[in-house]
């Protein structure tokens, strides 16, 4: 086989495996959310389908497939169908740059455990975050319903507001590392030097912005049931609704992976290399370390959702503009000053 064909085959295999794993993880994070919420509220949660209800996500997918796809008569059919697709695509595409492990040696060739090592990885993620507005805005507009429109508009204003603090928080990480490459950033967090320790304020602002960008409680204003029915997805049903639902959880997993990569050491397992384990085992343990960190972050997202009440809209906007943005700016200036002072 020619060399380039092998390259393409390796890439394709990686892509298919990663997308498969993510979609499964998304389905199971829905299950995790239901079990954790049940635990929080002293209920049992889904436990009938399969052992401990583990087949529930599968059944949910089948159920949603069997449902009728209702499009309101007044809606714009094309955009109405396009919006959930955009939502999930934007959420999934972020994974193309996230490193989930170091290199492994397989049959004498080095394979990088990352789909694409784009040299401006962080910027790519930020650009995709800024595209996240569109799925929501488009669905809000195309449904031609007041609830959807209000939800969409609120959501877009919220997302652009918190994008700024997210960008500024990321700048602190770039200052320390001097690179946009996610792989380099992970490599630099060797041992205890995780960015959460070097950038505590940056981590906090990034975390809060991530909650706002994923529209999760306490920032789930776009779909505040009590006032907006379902928010931007009021008029959606069947697979289109499922896409929005999957996109929300995919976004949670994306946010968790990005936080893990930028602040929690990525796939690094502190001091693992010093134990003298075989290379293959080290690589596998690193991938597992990455998955474990992401899993804990997802659990944190779920935990917060069932613990903290929702903000009022003015509180949300004022927090974003008057607290988070100055805080992120201050963090940036502080990082720059400290780096200049302690460089020599």
């Amino acid at each position: 086989m020619p060399e380039w064909l092998i390259d393409i085959l390796i890439t394709l295999t990686k892509i298919v495996i990663v997308e498969g794993v993510i979609l499964t993880a998304v389905a199971y994070s829905v299950y995790a959310e239901r079990r954790v919420s049940a635990f929080t509220q002293n209920r049992i949660g889904p436990n009938r389908v399969g052992p401990a209800g583990l087949l529930q996500p599968l059944v949910d997918v089948v159920k949603l497939l069997m449902k009728e796809d209702i499009v309101p008569a007044k809606a714009n059919r094309l955009v109405h169908a396009l919006a959930p697709g955009i939502s999930i695509l934007v959420a999934l595409s972020t994974f193309a740059v996230i490193p989930f492990g170091d290199k492994i040696l397989l049959a004498g060739r080095e394979i990088k455990l990352q789909i694409a090592d784009v040299n401006i990885g962080i910027l790519y993620i930020l650009a995709l975050v800024s595209l996240g507005v569109y799925g929501v805005t488009l669905s809000g507009w195309s449904s031609n319903s007041k609830y959807s429109l209000l939800g969409g508009l609120r959501s877009s204003a919220q997302m652009i507001s918190y994008e700024l603090s997210m960008g500024l928080a990321v700048l602190g990480v770039i200052l320390i590392n001097g690179s946009f490459e996610l792989d380099t950033i992970v490599q630099n967090q060797f041992g205890w030097k995780w960015n959460i320790i070097l950038q505590p304020i940056g981590f906090l602002t990034f975390l809060v912005s991530a909650f706002a960008e994923t529209n999760r409680t306490p920032f789930d204003l776009p779909e505040a049931e009590q006032e907006l029915v379902g928010g931007y997805h009021t008029e959606y049903s069947s697979m289109k609704f499922a896409m929005f639902f999957l996109a929300e959880y995919a976004n949670v997993i994306v946010a968790s992976s990005v936080i893990t990569t930028l602040y929690l050491g990525g796939w690094q397992f502190p001091y693992l290399q010093t134990f003298g384990l075989p290379d293959m085992l080290v690589s596998i343990l690193q991938v597992l370390a990455f998955c474990g960190k992401v899993f804990l972050m997802v659990l944190f997202f779920i935990w917060v959702r069932w613990t903290i009440p929702r903000f009022r809209y003015d509180q949300l906007m004022n927090l974003g503009w008057k607290a988070m943005l100055p805080l992120a700016l201050a963090n940036l200036v502080l990082t720059a000053i400290i780096l200049t002072l302690f460089k020599t």
Binding site: N119, I120, Y124, A127, V129, L131, Y134, L153, S156, I160
Partner: protein, 164 residues
């Protein structure tokens, strides 16, 4: 490099087609959403030119910022659909003459310019080069940019306060 050429034409056709739609759509919101496609395709063209930073900037600022502002602006107006985009005063003949003139000039330039064709280079880090140039050779324009942004901020804030 065949797939490079194919991709170039895909993005180019997408950019031009959506741009036409922006101009001819009856509904202002449709125009705004078609502009999404145009800006995105242009970002794709930048990527093909190895200008990755500019491509990302294009998406972050234009698609994620300016277009959102436009959509908000459109949402604030009451009349959305079926706006008559034709002006009453139709200066057809001068318009045709003018646009044909410009087209002829552009085509003339296209075929007479000695294009500086460079061989395909490997994708390399552009951002740090931009950063270095920004802090040395082009320092003054860069600092002036901050003043321009300040003026824009103050101006837009004042304008917004007036409309309130």
């Amino acid at each position: 490099m065949i797939y490079y050429t194919i991709l170039f034409y895909v993005f180019a056709v997408l950019a031009v087609a959506t741009a036409f739609y922006v101009v001819f759509a009856k509904n202002v919101i449709h125009s705004a959403f078609a502009l999404f496609g145009t800006l995105f395709a242009v970002a794709g063209l930048f990527v093909l030119l190895n200008a990755d930073f500019i491509a990302i900037t294009q998406i972050m600022v234009y698609v994620g910022g300016i277009l959102v502002l436009m959509i908000f602006g459109v949402m604030l107006t009451t009349k959305i659909a079926d706006i008559d985009i034709h002006t009453k005063n139709l200066n057809r003949i001068p318009a045709i003459l003018f646009s044909t003139g410009i087209t002829v000039i552009l085509i003339f330039i296209l075929f007479t310019t000695k294009w500086n064709i460079k061989p395909q280079v490997q994708n390399q880090e552009t951002v740090s080069q931009i950063g270095k140039l920004m802090l040395t050779t082009y320092l003054l324009p860069f600092e002036i940019a901050s003043i321009v942004l300040l003026v824009a901020l103050v101006g837009s804030a004042m304008y917004a306060r007036k409309t309130k």
